[in-house]
Symmetry: C2
Subunit: 330 residues, 2 copies
């Protein structure tokens, strides 16, 4: 009998095919992949073309050659200039599309996805995320900042050179508000952070844990919406990504690289997205929210059922998906 | 300057690229399409193979040859047998996956998408939807029923022969609950159905209307999440699809066929989904909700930004998309 599982954190529900589930290895691509070259002369993100790209906003290391660099997006979704005006009448309600949109080039190497970068390099990438995240929030027009990565065409990448993106919006997105509301309601009920509770239960049960370090744990949520939907939670209760310590940054780099490599090897470099979910640093030490990194491997299709209900159908058992990733030989 | 538009009905927000928007015709596939044959001997939905498919639950016309037929899904997402048991402890919360999942074969012809069917045939298809919708709700274990269609591979179709699906779930999905909550809140504020208000404003403004009949209007919502995201609303305030009259069924068939044909011709047979959103017939004459049919043409990709915020980026102006579809020569 299938099972409908509820995700207490997101409010989502998912039909999990507990009996006739596909084996995790059935989700590998099994198709010939073109290996990109390490350098493409015409790529705007490859070294030597820095002056053709929009002006740089950050680089690491700070000196001459760079490992990671950030710049304005050439085709930004939002406009950096202008005032946050509420507009519209009657049924129409709008805000001027003011905001920031930058690209973070992850490496000079055209061919190295984060899964293949050394851990200290991933740490520099995370430091760039943190720096731009905090910089965006310094502008009083920005209410929310989201860091994300699209890897592969079906995950929405238009440029092959490994890069992440960061967007600052002039309002808190409704979905983010809804999660914070749910978290605060749960805190009121139980007097504990919903995410801390979830992590404690996941660690106690263990079957959905994929990797664990001193500061972070990576697991497939009990009600994962899709196979290999994976969360990395900081063990310390903290609501804002911007407050991550240097030691935690190193821990996060290590676990993120390990997880991405397990996915890369085990599922043969599938398309994926990851995002960092966080409140604003201006919110102070919020007791009910907990920042985390969420990975979605694009092995399933959203169809009419999902669009019409918001429910998902997961054709793999989260416990089996977790075991599969745990057992990948690295 | 881009614009962030709010959808008062769904609570979603969308960044609309008002200046650098792509022209509607840029979304056509521009690729060679294989035209399917009218009949495939091995197709489980083609005539002559009825006995290889699961038992039929409904057919129209009732006699010998059929135009539309419904049957159990061979690989159902939910199990028809069993009791609705709440399960799980602590953080884990689940319901036994009891429910119905049927397939509605839309035509004996393997090659005819609904866009290409005659209007009376589409009317039979809608009648099959209505019949199965009401039949599902007769089972006391069913709390919600969703009718949907996946057309094309990127929209989640696994079988080419034109078919729709209908699923009955043992709980009201969270997204559906959230919309009803929003609608009831708006009714409390304004004393009017949110959907009636929306339709009145859309008809008054006219720029996003694609087609209008005596009983229905089709429009691209002001805050459409993607290009050609389209809604068909009944003009009469009514919360439940199951209460549609025979005359309204004929009107709906005409406007649905017209819209699907405009999309088929104008965008060269793109992949798409449509769903019918409705409350249960057991809810009675709800004042704050309004059933409708929603079409999503799959011309854009959900990426990290959308996953991490629930916001969307629409690279086409809804007003231009509507004009484009209105002006398609049929």
């Amino acid at each position: 009998m299938p099972e409908i599982r509820f995700n207490r954190i997101t409010g989502d529900s998912v039909i999990v095919a507990t009996e006739r589930s596909r084996r995790p290895e059935d989700f590998t691509r099994r198709k010939e992949q073109r290996k990109p070259p390490p350098y493409i002369p015409t790529c705007p993100f490859c070294p030597g073309n820095e002056d053709k790209a929009p002006p740089e906003t950050f680089r690491l290391p700070a000196g001459g050659g760079w490992a990671v660099r950030a710049m304005a997006n050439k085709f930004p979704a939002l406009s950096a200039a202008g005032e946050v005006r509420r507009e519209g009448t009657g049924f129409k309600k709008a805000i001027a599309g003011v905001g920031f949109h930058e690209v973070i080039v992850e490496t000079p190497r055209h061919d190295l996805a984060p899964a293949l970068l050394p851990v200290p390099h991933v740490e520099q990438l995370l430091e760039a995320y943190r720096h731009r995240f905090l910089a965006f929030y310094e502008d009083p027009r920005i209410e929310h900042v989201i860091v994300f990565k699209n890897h592969g065409e079906s995950a929405g990448t238009s440029l092959e050179h490994p890069h992440s993106q960061i967007v600052g919006t002039p309002m808190v997105p409704g979905q983010v508000r809804a999660r914070i509301r749910e978290a605060s309601r749960s805190f009121d009920d139980f007097g504990e952070c919903l995410y801390c509770w979830c992590l404690r239960e996941e660690l106690a049960e263990g079957v959905r844990i994929v990797a664990e370090g001193a500061d972070f744990a990576a697991f497939i949520p009990y009600a994962a919406l899709s196979p290999f939907h994976l969360w990395i939670f900081p063990k310390r209760h903290v609501a804002c990504f911007g407050t991550i310590s240097r030691a935690e940054m190193a821990s996060l780099a290590a676990i993120l690289k390990e997880i991405l490599l397990r996915i890369y090897v085990g599922l043969e470099n599938p398309d994926l997205n990851y995002v960092i979910r966080s409140v604003s640093p201006h919110d102070g030490p919020v007791k009910h929210f907990h920042w985390y990194l969420s990975i979605v491997v694009r092995v399933s299709t959203v169809a009419g059922f999902e669009l019409g209900t918001g429910m998902f159908i997961n054709t793999a058992l989260p416990e089996e998906s977790a075991r599969f990733l745990r057992e990948v030989q690295l």
